[in-house]
C-alpha cells in the first residue's frame, strides 16, 4: 500500500488512465453494440482489434517505416496517421462482418441456443489469432515512432503528452459521431428498433440481417480506431494483443452497462483510471485485480452496470 505515492502522482496517473480508458471505450463499443442487438458476447471482437493493429503496421511498412526509422515531418505524420486509420478501419470492419457471416449467421438460421453462439465466437477468435500467430511465428512486431512524445499541457506535476491528448480527443469525437449516428439517423433508428424488439422491427420493414451486419461493421470501425491508438501508445503488437485488452474492454462495457453506448465510454474511462490508481497503490502487477474487484463491487450494487442496459430503450 503506497498511499503517499498515489496522492502525489494522482494527476499523472489519472491522465494515463484516461488515455488508456479511451482505448478501452472505443474497443468496448464493439461488444456493447453487438450485445445490444443480439444479446451475444462477441468473443471474436478482440481479434477484430488485433487485425486492425496489423493492418496499420503493414500499411506503414509499405512506406518503408519500421520501428528503427526516424520520425518523419509533421505533414507526412498526418498523412501516415490517416492512411493507418483507414487501413485499420477497413481491415477491422471487414473482419467483423466476415466473422458475423461465417460464425453467427448460420447459427441464427438454425435457431441455436445462446451458448452455441458463444462457442462459435470462441472458435472464431481462436482461429484468427492462431492463424496470425502461425503466420508471424508468434513474434512481436514493432511500431515506427510516428509521434515523438512531447508535453503539451503542464499543470503542477501533471503533464499531458501530445499522444495522450490525441487519443482522448479522438475517442471523444468518435463517440459523439457514433452517438449521433445511432440516435439521429435513419440507419441508427433501425439499429435501435432491432435492439428493442427484433420481430417488431422486422414487421415494420427493417431488414434485420442488414442491421446486424451494420452493427458488426460499426463495432469493427471503432475497434480499428482503437487499434491505431493502441499501437501508437504501446509501441508493438502481437497475435494475442487483442485477448487481454479484450478482457479489459469487455469489463468496461459491463461496468458501464452493456448495450449502452454512453455506458461504454463511462465504463472505459472509469476502468482506465481505476486500473492506474490501483497500479499506483498496490504495484503494477495488481492493476487488473483492482479493476475486477471494482467490477464485482459495482455489479453487487448495480447488477446492470453504471448506466444500465439500454441501446434500444433510452430516449428511443
Amino acid at each position: 500500500m503506497n498511499f503517499s505515492g498515489l496522492i502525489h502522482n494522482l494527476g499523472p496517473l489519472t491522465i494515463t488512465g484516461l488515455a488508456q480508458g479511451a482505448i478501452y471505450a472505443l474497443f468496448a463499443l464493439g461488444y456493447t453494440l453487438v450485445y445490444g442487438v443480439l444479446r451475444l458476447i462477441n468473443f471474436a471482437h478482440s481479434e477484430v482489434f488485433m487485425m486492425g493493429t496489423y493492418a496499420t503496421l503493414i500499411t506503414w511498412g509499405f512506406f518503408g517505416l519500421n520501428q528503427n526509422s526516424a520520425t518523419p515531418g509533421l505533414g507526412s505524420v498526418l498523412g501516415y496517421l490517416v492512411l493507418g486509420l483507414i487501413a485499420a478501419i477497413i481491415m477491422s470492419g471487414v473482419t467483423a462482418v466476415v466473422i458475423e457471416f461465417v460464425a453467427y449467421r448460420p447459427l441464427r438460421r438454425r435457431n441455436a441456443p445462446p451458448l452455441a453462439f458463444l462457442i462459435t465466437a470462441i472458435g472464431a477468435s481462436t482461429v484468427i489469432s492462431e492463424a496470425v500467430g502461425v503466420a508471424t511465428h508468434r513474434n512481436l512486431r514493432g511500431v515506427p515512432p510516428l509521434i515523438k512524445p512531447a508535453t503539451v499541457v503542464h499543470i503542477g506535476n501533471t503533464t499531458i503528452t501530445n499522444l495522450q491528448l490525441l487519443i482522448i480527443l479522438l475517442a471523444l469525437v468518435m463517440m459523439a459521431v457514433l452517438d449521433v449516428f445511432i440516435n439521429r439517423t435513419r440507419l441508427g433508428r433501425g439499429v435501435r428498433a432491432v435492439a428493442q424488439n427484433p420481430d417488431g422491427a422486422a414487421l415494420m420493414g427493417v431488414n434485420k440481417n442488414r442491421v446486424i451486419s451494420l452493427v458488426f461493421l460499426l463495432g469493427g470501425l471503432m475497434a480499428g480506431i482503437a487499434a491505431v491508438m493502441y499501437v501508437l501508445k504501446i509501441g508493438d503488437t502481437r497475435y494475442d494483443a487483442g485477448f487481454n485488452l479484450g478482457i479489459s474492454a469487455f469489463t468496461a462495457a459491463v461496468l458501464g452497462g452493456i448495450g449502452n453506448l454512453r455506458g461504454a465510454l463511462l465504463g472505459g474511462l472509469v476502468l482506465g483510471v481505476a486500473e492506474n490508481w490501483g497500479a499506483g497503490l498496490f504495484g503494477t502487477e495488481w492493476h487488473q485485480v483492482v479493476s475486477f474487484v471494482l467490477l464485482i463491487v459495482i455489479l453487487m450494487f448495480r447488477p446492470t452496470g453504471l448506466l444500465g442496459e439500454s441501446l434500444g430503450r433510452a430516449r428511443a
Binding site: Y35, R39, I41, V102, A103, P106, L107, R110, N111, A112, P113, L115, A116, L118, I119, T120, I122, G123, A124, S125, T126, V127, E130, A131, V134, Q196, N197, P198, D199, G200, F243, I247, F250, T251, V254, I258, G283, E285, W286, Q288, V289, F292, V293, L295, I296, L299, M300, P303, T304, G305
Partner: protein, 378 residues
C-alpha cells in the same frame, strides 16, 4: 399475470431420430443386460492404455508425440473438469468463464500443503491433502457464488472470468505462491509394488490414468444421481426460469450456491489429480484459455448431458495430443503448432451442424424446441 395458458399448438419439426435410437434401445433392455454392457464398457476403459497393441486400429488412434498413457491421463482430468463445469453451465445454466480458478485452487492447496518449497513446511503426503483441497475449492466456489447471486447471464460470465484472473494474477505475483518458479517435488499418490518400487512413478503414467478413470467414474455416478434428485430438478427449474422457480418454492439462492460449490469441488479434484501427476506446479498452467477450452468441450459435447460432457472433455484433450509429432505435408512443421487453429475450426463446424452439441441432452432439446416459439425480446 396469466395463470392458465391454453396450450398453443406447435408443429413439431421432423426429428432426426437416428441418434436417439441407440439410447432408446439401451434403456429398453432388462437391467442385467444393461449392467453387463456398462461393466464391459468400463473394462474397455481400463484397458485403454494397451490400445496400441490392438492390430490395425490401435496405432491409428494412439498419440505419437506424447506417450499414450500420459495422453490418457490428460484426458481423464479434462473429462473430470468438463463434468464438473457441466454442473454449473449445463445443469444450473450459469455461464462460468473462470472455471480454471477452482482447478488452480485445488492444485495450489496440494502444493502448499505437500511441497517442500511451501512456506507452510507441512510436507503432508498427497492423500492427506486431497480432502482439504476439495474443501478449499468448495469454499472458493461459495466465495465466488455469494456476490454473484443477483447477476444473470453475461454479467455472471464476466465476473467469473474476473475471479479466475484474480486467482491467476495472485498466483503470479504473490510471493508465497512462488509465481513462475513454482513448487517442485509435490508428492505423487501413495502405494508401492511388492518389490518396493512406487506404483505412481515418473516413467509410466498408466496407474495415474487408472486412478483418474476411477475418480471420473465416481464423480459421474455422484453427479448423475444428484441430477436426478431434488437438487437436479431445482437446477433445471432455475435454468429455465429463475423467477418461476422461486415462485414455485425452489430456494434458488441455496441451489445456485450448491451448483457453484459442487462444480468447484470437482474442479478442485481435477487440480489435485493434476498436481499429483505432474509433481510440479507453477502459475503458467492457469491461463484463461484453459477455462475457455473446457467450456468449449462441455458445449461441444452437449451442455447439460453427462455423456456429452465426457465426450467433449476427452476430445479437447485428445485432439491436440494426437496432432503432436505429426509432420504436415505442406509446411513440414509439427502439426502441434496448428492445434488451436484446428480446434477453433472444429468447434465452429460442430456448432454450426450440431448447435446442441455432439450428444444433446434429451430433456434440454425438448425444452429448446418448446422455447423456440417464445423467443421474445427481453
Amino acid at each position: 399475470m396469466t395463470t392458465l395458458q391454453e396450450p398453443t399448438p406447435v408443429e413439431t419439426p421432423p426429428r432426426k431420430a437416428r441418434s436417439f435410437q441407440l439410447r432408446g434401445w439401451f434403456s429398453q433392455l432388462p437391467w442385467p443386460a444393461r449392467l453387463v454392457i456398462i461393466l464391459a464398457v468400463l473394462a474397455c476403459g481400463y484397458l485403454l492404455p494397451y490400445l496400441g497393441d490392438v492390430p490395425v486400429i490401435g496405432p491409428q488412434i494412439i498419440t505419437q508425440g506424447i506417450d499414450w498413457p500420459s495422453a490418457l491421463f490428460n484426458m481423464s482430468y479434462y473429462v473430470l473438469l468438463a463434468v464438473g463445469l457441466n454442473v454449473v453451465v449445463g445443469f444450473a445454466g450459469m455461464l462460468d468463464l473462470g472455471y480454471v480458478g477452482f482447478f488452480a485452487v485445488g492444485t495450489y492447496t496440494v502444493a502448499l500443503l505437500c511441497s517442500s518449497d511451501s512456506v507452510l513446511h507441512t510436507g503432508w503426503p498427497w492423500l492427506a491433502a486431497v480432502p482439504i483441497a476439495i474443501a478449499v475449492a468448495m469454499v472458493s466456489g461459495l466465495i465466488l457464488g455469494w456476490p454473484t447471486l443477483r447477476l444473470r447471464g453475461d454479467y455472471l460470465a464476466i465476473v467469473t472470468l474476473g475471479f479466475a484472473e484474480i486467482i491467476r494474477i495472485t498466483a503470479d505475483s504473490a510471493n508465497f505462491l512462488r509465481g513462475n518458479r513454482g513448487f517442485t517435488d509435490v508428492p505423487h499418490p501413495p502405494g508401492s509394488h511388492s518389490d518396493g518400487s512406487p506404483i505412481f512413478g515418473v516413467v509410466d503414467a498408466t496407474p495415474y490414468f487408472w486412478l483418474g478413470l476411477t475418480v471420473v467414474i465416481i464423480a459421474v455416478l455422484a453427479l448423475r444421481n444428484l441430477d436426478r434428485s431434488r437438487v437436479g430438478r431445482s437446477w433445471l427449474a432455475i435454468r429455465e426460469d429463475e423467477e418461476a422457480a422461486e415462485l414455485m418454492g425452489v430456494r434458488t439462492i441455496k441451489y445456485k450456491l450448491w451448483a457453484f460449490a459442487i462444480g468447484a469441488a470437482v474442479g478442485g479434484l481435477g487440480g489435485v489429480m493434476f498436481a499429483g501427476e505432474q509433481g510440479f506446479v507453477n502459475s503458467a498452467t492457469f491461463v484463461l484459455q484453459f477455462s475457455i477450452l473446457v467450456l468449449g468441450g462441455v458445449v461441444m459435447g452437449g451442455s447439460g448431458n453427462i455423456p456429452g460432457a465426457i465426450l467433449g472433455g476427452a476430445l479437447i484433450s485428445y485432439i491436440p495430443d494426437r496432432l503432436r509429432g505429426i509432420n504436415d505435408p505442406i509446411f513440414h512443421t509439427d502439426l502441434y503448432q496448428f492445434r488451436f487453429l484446428l480446434f477453433g475450426l472444429a468447434i465452429i463446424i460442430i456448432m454450426i451442424f450440431r448447435p446442441q452439441g455432439l450428444i444433446p441432452s434429451r430433456r434440454r432439446s425438448m425444452e429448446l424446441k418448446d422455447r423456440a416459439k417464445e423467443v421474445a425480446p427481453q
